[in-house]
Subunit: 380 residues, 2 copies
């Protein structure tokens, strides 16, 4: 078991009717002027905006609102938010939405203290400070509400890249699983696939950290079980709650202990797909690429893949495990091939090249240009 540091100071407030507490938490930290960042406006139809707004008023917190965050949040939009913050002497950011909104909020929070926010992603400037960040989560998927990572897309340069910093943990994240009951089924599935993918990226890179391996198996089973239950009854509160909490834990640091930093090849290839196809949801790309990656690499790490097949799906061989994963995705209605995403074979070369912009990726399983190409072909 390798050396590790574990640190996650985010306060999680989890449960029914917790959104109305957000104002109190912001006030507790002494802030009275925030930027409310949100996405497409579903927060207006599902009542979340009204709850947040009331809570801020009750606690004498002034807010400036900025909507329009895209499903793949963009550099241009983040830059615009930074200008608003500087022009209005905003003290803190309140992100209300799913992973995209919170990710862009983290970019903005750190971007307020550098020359240009994209420099953080290019690693030409480092994060030494960030605006305080509060979040109200409306879609459990990426785990960003409980970690220090963010992804942003530079659409002009076709780069969808990530950063992380110890200054980027949300101070407080409120998770009310009730507000997720009205989500379209596709988004529930995407949340499950995303959470599962985070755990798997870590799990297959891990060594002898038995505690983490078995925790990760427990979480993978819980995600699958919860989504299955929600397919029967989208209003099953306990399954919503278990899926939400598993998704938060999935990338909270807990699942990474002793996992050597993870593989992340599937994420890299997926990011290259959505760099060219911004309408492909992150999780849809992951559902397509993960089984293909498994087919490509499993022989290098057969003991771990056998354990995974057995402890997550209760089957005896690696191939049965991969089939069980594909069948799970199919059962949920997730795409499982590039064809399902309308990505033609002619695009493979460009996507594979794009996935190598940051160099070879992977840990136990190094993925170079050839390998990326092969995985994409296996995903056809």
């Amino acid at each position: 078991m390798e050396f590790f540091k574990y640190y996650n100071p985010t306060r999680i407030i989890f449960g029914k009717n917790t959104i109305s507490e957000i104002g109190e938490y912001i006030k507790e930290y002494g802030y009275n002027k925030v930027l409310i960042l949100y996405g497409g406006g579903s927060i207006f139809s599902n009542g979340v905006y009204s709850e947040v707004s009331k809570s801020l008023q009750l606690n004498d917190i002034i807010s400036v609102e900025f909507g329009g965050v895209q499903p793949n949040p963009t550099l241009d939009h983040a830059r615009a938010a930074i200008r608003i913050i500087k022009d209005n002497n905003i003290q803190a950011i309140l992100a209300v939405g799913g992973g995209s909104v919170i990710d862009e909020a983290k970019s903005i929070a750190a971007g307020c203290y550098v020359d240009d926010v994209w420099n953080i992603f290019e690693k030409t400037e480092s994060v030494k400070k960030a605006l305080p960040l509060f979040t109200v989560l409306t879609l459990s998927a990426t785990g960003t509400e409980m970690n220090s990572f963010a992804v942003l897309s530079n659409t002009e340069q076709k780069k969808k890249w990530a950063f992380g910093s110890p200054f980027s943990y949300p101070l407080v994240s409120i998770i009310d699983p009730q507000v997720q009951m009205t989500l379209p089924w596709r988004q529930t599935v995407n949340g499950g696939v995303d959470a599962l993918s985070h755990i798997m990226e870590l799990y297959f890179a891990g060594d002898s950290a038995e505690a983490t391996l078995s925790i990760n198996e427990a979480l993978m089973r819980t995600v699958i079980k919860s989504v299955d239950e929600l397919q029967k009854d989208p209003n099953d509160y306990d399954s919503r709650a278990n899926l939400a909490w598993s998704a938060s834990l999935a990338l909270s640091g807990l699942t990474a202990v002793g996992m050597n930093g993870g593989e992340w090849s599937v994420h890299r290839i997926e990011h290259s797909i959505s760099a060219y196809y911004p309408n492909v949801a992150h999780a849809e790309g992951l559902a397509v690429i993960f089984p293909a990656w498994m087919k490509y690499v499993n022989k290098q790490n057969s003991e771990r893949f056998e354990r995974w097949a057995k402890n997550v799906f209760g089957v005896d061989s690696i191939n049965e495990g991969i089939d069980a994963l594909i069948n799970t995705f199919k059962r949920w209605g997730a795409p499982t091939s590039l064809a399902d995403l309308n990505v033609p074979s002619e695009m493979i070369e460009q996507i594979a090249q794009n996935s190598m912009l940051l160099g070879i990726v992977g840990n136990k399983h190094k993925i170079d240009l050839d390998a990326s190409r092969s995985i994409l072909n296996l995903a056809l």
Copy 2:
């Protein structure tokens, strides 16, 4: 799944040769005068003291030393430490040792800001501030290195009581599993029993939090597997590391999510045993009382007990599960009866009475005086 708040800001530095970093962390927070609190002096023979001392010197940190913390830390000793801190303008506490040392350090840290430290335990004064606390853990067992709880014994009044406060999380805890390789076997076992007991106190009180239930089963299996491996080879680093990390997580808040605060009846009864028998190690009392408590309460919660028997021990009935737990303790050489602890049946009445000083205990399984008596009788 019930409402919950999750918050654990302690920074964990875990791995080989990490103790020499302690001075840098204390310096990072800007402190240069600490009280080093320790116990019986094993830190002098295992090299830990010398590592700590060197690291403090290298980082220009002045220290005042105060040893002699007892296995069941006492109020008198904590009061003496508070006087030393006040007389010497100490800025922070560095606890070097096992759970007892860290627990007393938490009591001292909070006790510096109230009229008398025991008032915190009697709940007549509340904790609003505490000295910053750093820890170097030398024995993984209680999980105190990663939580906000502490236990202290008022020997005069025969009260072994607990408190917890959001100001009582250690800032940084260093865990080097290597230093635990030289522990006497009995202490390794006690660590395993203690960690297992924490998880079980929570697990049996939980409702529908599938994520936590399955994480807790994963951790119970990991603790048992790790101690079994260490019985074969005390120098097996990976098993030391997995046991250490599982013990930290066992009472970190993670295992408590959705568990309704836990049962804690076994802890309460055990505390009453060690109030009369200070030489009985906490974990030894737990190993004796837990199976007796299970025998007494399992019929009220048979579904959970069956799940536990199946998922932790792979057996099909509750009775087989309880037998498997007893056999695990016996295999490790832990006591499994009051007779093993040299506690005679004549003491049951006094211990049972003592266990009710704070009122009825338990959650799904309320334990009153009669029940406490019955459990103690089942433990004979």
